[in-house]
Amino acid sequence: MSDTKTFSLTKEQVQSLNPVEGIKDKSQHLRGSIAQSLANPVTGAVAADDTQLIKFHGIYQQDDRDLRNERRKQKLEPAYSFMLRARVPGGICSPAQWLAMDRIANEFGNDTLRLTTRQAFQLHGIIKNNLRPTMQSMKQVMLDSIAACGDVNRNVMCNPNPVESKVHKEVYDWAARISEHLLPKTQAYYEIWLNGDKVDTNQEKEPIYSKHYLPRKFKTVVAIPPYNDVDVFAHDLGFIAIIQNGRLAGFNVTVGGGMGMSHGDTETYPRAADVIGFCFPQQVLAVAEQVVKIQRDFGNREVRKQARFKYTIATRGIDWFKQELNDRLGWKLLPNQPYEFISNSDRYGWIKGYDGRWNLNLYIENGRIADHPDWPLMSGLREVAKIHDGDFRITPNQNLIIAGISEQNKAQVEALVEQYRLNTGEEVSNIRRHGMACVSLPTCTLAMAESERYMPTFLDKMESLLQQHGLESQPITIRMTGCPNGCARPYLAEIGLVGKGPGKYNLFLGAGHHGERLGVVYRDNIGEQEILRVLDQLFAQYVAQRESDEKFGDFIVRKGIVSPTATPQDFHFELQHQAAV
């Protein structure tokens, strides 16, 4: 690597930037006053500045929003608790790690585990005093939450499907290496949470990030065609594995994808990533590092809502970016190699791998692992983990693969699946198999509308609607989020529902079935009845006029029901409305 550029900001510069930059600036490599906040017995919250810093340690401060008003009257502060996101590169964890997370969730969390759309575990409802014990218990099984959130590179995703070939393992190893390579170097995490020795922060270096880290969060994924389950175009940086003749030839590089936007702020919008060239496997770390550094140096630190990498690229242009990258690398990316995606969903049920071992892709509604009264999912998985001789894989669709089951263990796993009524997805409707919802209320501070809690009943209605139109076997992707930040990547679903207010959603249509094209906002701020009425009409039209094998999203675009323009008006209904007037 020829690049030796470093990044620094003067005091005066920092003052002109958004406030989070100031917090990072004086945080002494992400320490801030977190330790003092933890020791403060009067509140279950951390100090305001620390709420920004703990994200770098994988934690968000939340509160039970259902109880906010009630507690205010009780003269109690909000029911603060923390969401902790464990870093699980590629979503792979061992049975021992699963058992540890299960125990931690029941001891310190809200008795549930959440599998996320970025292949991580989320623990919810951890009160402040339990944060340290949680981190320490995770450490015992070699898990951490470093950089699981915050303005750094987060959990690196990778297609988890182990069935295809041993190349998959090789690709996964690269994902894990990228994750390690882009981790912050600060010892703050060990010091604060794991009783590590105090280090001299003046001597501490962040060679990739600098003391100000990135302007905003940064997400990296690795896709293995033909599956685009990681939604490679939705992330800041992506690598599409190119497998030729059963060998890993290298990766196509994608940059500048991102989901988040804000209602009413037309300067914000989701963006699909550009594919900018090809690199060999040994070049992956250098590419990743230089991409991150370009964003570090050129990302917008003045306006936080413009700080994502996608805006850096959109503002300066993709050609500028390629040039900058090539300059920094000292060599040029090769031309894109051909690849084909066929789906961004999961394949459910039992599949035998190339290595003769068995894999069971379970359907996990909304990624929530819990014991329901009539459906002891969490207990079932615990029992599986106790006897399992392979590993567990969290899919980017929030499902779980019990992977690498040996032939002799298969019967035992099957028996447990039956005993605990684990859902293998085979009985699940198509719309459910292709559905995804974010966590939202009551814990997420950003939520404007229900999502995880509402999605199941909404899908009941979708099922009967599709049945009326004879579309029950048609795979259609549907995703719901409680706000426009896009955790469940709704802009890449053929039917996207983005929360705007209680019971109200923006309806997005026209996205590509396997995540290759963003949807367009079709209706603004509508409730369930109107959503179902609109879809009822469109399904009728679809059934009558679709071409053979034409996907719902493609049909919508072909008929001009929405017309993607690759401009902000695709996502802001008010811009379309103005254009129409």
């Binding site: 009067v42 507690r71 205010r72 009780q74 003269k75 502060e77 029911a79 009160i127």
Partner: protein, 609 residues
């Protein structure tokens, strides 16, 4: 003050005489001056030959020797109160007797010079008993004096005793008995038999007071009729027209849970309007609340005793329906020993009779049962007369006030812990706590203010205070803080608070956070007992902060304890003794003495229950 008056207006006195008077009365309490004024009036009205010289120069014996020459017998009502009942009765009696003249005096035992006792002529003692037969704090010095080596000869003294108590305790009215017997042993002449009152003391106390009034009046009638009554300094505070037995029917403004979801207990914040009542209070005072029994409990009682709630009964000369009387007039939660005894006898139940025979078993039974359980367990056929004859009259409950009028004007706030005992999956609630917790906006609540001069902020706002409380014991401290916030004080404030869980039981959390932020609250130490494997209570926090706490005390801080008497207060006191001993480097006797000094100088005050 007194001396100035003498100098300015008392021209018949020489400078020397004034000095002597000054020397003699300068350090007397208001109470004592009051007494003295009666004495001087007596001299003046009597022989007249006595010189002032004789009175002021004499020692106590000389004064005593003058007694027989007084024409009207001096009368002192001597009381000691823990919860305010004895004081209320004493004040009432004083109001009745006052028109008779200046020889009638009212004295709190806490302010009474024990050595004066032998100079008294008629003494009427009203005293309560608390805990396991212990005298109220205020009665301790006099009690010790009477039972000590220096106990005086009381052969010139006539007396009578009204004892207050609670028959659910083993040593019922013990302190009253002590005084009664000891006065007699010391030669005093008993005017009439002691009366022992249970918690529904109203009618017995009335009868006893009637006897006193009769006695004093007849004594006065036999004395010289020519005597003038003179106005005198009143020691009784202005009494609002609303008091214990004439409570104010107040409007309830708010009854709002303070404990969050999932809490193991229900604690409520209650706001009541005192508008137009003329009632006022100071932080540290208590609010008396007359509870009303829940209608469902009344229905249960009626069902089990087989009586018709619609029938008319007469209570206190008022005719009403039985079920209404059971709501308002009778105790339906706490059991009296007499009720157990009655049921034991009437049912002929051997095991219950055995319980009644054994005091400790009876106490345990009373503690673990409510009236309805007793009635259900031993079904009898009850006549209305039997039922109303056996049930105790309902009594008001006292709550430490959780507000300051400086902050809330004519409102009064309470912190109410719901008494909720679960036995055999049935809930048994406390009468008043349930009444308040379930009360609805605009509902009427009969209340009165019970002053508590033994739990008061320091007069000087610059004095530091250390507030120690658990559970609802936090109530008066909220009042303290409101007061200190409103009147702009400089003294530091330190709170120790304990409850089971941080998340649900940090009472008034937002307010404490605010006071901490504003700097009014200097320190806070919290003990959430069940948030970790080992239980942590306030007494542990006190030890943990011992050095700092001792420094505060050395710098003059006042110390307060409020809350549970049996567990918390005792453990806290023991921690305090340890801390004092450790950081003073002295032994435990020193620590005891240190704390005693604080107590005597009113720097260590308790409001425990």
């Amino acid at each position: 003050m007194l001396a100035n008056i003498l100098q300015e207006f008392a021209s018949p006195l020489t400078k020397e005489q004034v000095d002597k008077i000054q020397a003699a009365v300068g350090d007397l309490s208001l109470e004592q001056v009051n007494w003295l004024s009666g004495y001087l009036a007596g001299i003046s009205a009597g022989a007249g030959a006595q010189t002032l010289q004789a009175a002021t120069n004499s020692d106590v014996q000389t004064l005593s020797a003058q007694k027989p020459s007084l024409s009207v017998e001096s009368t002192t009502i001597l009381y000691a109160s823990q919860t305010g009942n004895a004081r209320a009765l004493a004040e009432e009696l004083y109001e009745q007797l006052k028109p008779q003249g200046s020889h009638i005096r009212l004295a709190d035992m806490a302010d009474y010079n024990a050595r004066q006792l032998k100079n008294e002529q008629q003494v009427f003692v009203i005293v309560s008993t608390h805990g396991e037969g212990e005298p109220p704090d205020d009665a301790l010095p006099l009690h010790e004096f009477l039972f000590g080596k220096k106990a005086p000869d009381l052969s010139h003294v006539k007396f009578a005793v009204l004892a207050l108590g609670d028959s659910s305790y083993e040593f019922f009215c013990k302190t009253g008995q002590d005084f009664d017997e000891r006065f007699s042993e010391l030669g005093a002449q008993r005017l009439f038999e002691r009366v022992d009152c249970d918690v529904d003391y109203r009618s017995q106390a009335k009868a006893w007071s009637g006897q006193v009034v009769e006695q004093v009046s007849s004594a006065a009638a036999t004395a010289s009729a020519s005597e003038e009554t003179k106005p005198q300094l009143s020691v009784v505070e202005t009494v609002s027209r609303y008091s214990k037995f004439t409570p104010f029917s107040a409007e309830l403004l708010v009854s709002q849970p303070l404990t969050g979801r999932g809490s193991s207990k229900t604690t409520a914040h209650v706001e009541i309007s005192l508008e137009d009542s003329g009632l006022s209070y100071a932080p540290g005072d208590s609010l008396g609340v007359w509870p009303e029994n829940h209608s469902s409990l009344v229905e249960q009682v009626l069902a089990v005793v087989g009586l018709n709630g619609e029938q008319e009964v007469t209570v206190e000369e008022q005719t009403k329906r039985l079920k209404e009387a059971l709501v308002v007039d009778y105790e339906l939660t706490q059991i009296s020993p007499a009720l157990v005894q009655f049921v034991a006898e009437k049912s002929g139940d051997g095991s219950l009779q055995a319980i009644v025979q054994e005091r400790s078993e009876l106490n345990a039974f009373i503690k673990n049962h409510q009236v309805i359980e007793l009635l259900q367990k031993y079904p009898l056929s009850w006549s209305v007369e039997e039922l109303l004859g056996q049930l105790r009259r309902i009594t008001p409950r006292l709550y430490s006030i959780a507000s300051s009028q400086e902050a809330v004007d004519d409102e009064v706030h309470l912190t109410v812990g719901l008494v909720d005992d679960v036995r055999d999956e049935q809930h048994y609630y406390g009468a008043a706590s349930r009444f308040l917790v379930e009360a609805e906006e605009d509902q009427k609540v009969r209340v009165f203010v019970e002053k508590n001069k033994h739990f008061k902020l320091p007069d000087n706002g610059d004095t530091d205070i250390i507030m120690i409380g658990a559970g609802t014991g936090i109530a008066p401290y909220r009042g303290f803080m409101q007061q200190r916030e409103s009147v702009d004080t400089q003294g530091r404030n330190w709170l120790f608070f304990g409850n089971p869980h941080f998340q649900t039981d940090f009472l008034y959390q937002l307010e404490w956070q605010q006071w901490l932020k504003s700097g009014l609250l200097s320190r806070i130490d919290l003990a959430f007992s069940r948030d970790q494997a080992h239980k942590v209570y306030v007494q542990h926090k006190i030890k943990e902060q011992g050095q700092e706490l001792f420094q505060w005390l050395e710098q003059g801080a006042h110390l307060y304890i409020c809350g549970d008497k049996d567990n918390m207060a005792k453990a806290v006191e023991s921690s305090l003794l340890d801390v004092i001993s450790e950081y003073s480097g002295k032994d435990s006797a020193y620590a005891e003495d240190y704390l005693q000094q604080l107590r005597q100088s009113a720097r260590y005050q308790k409001d425990v229950y």
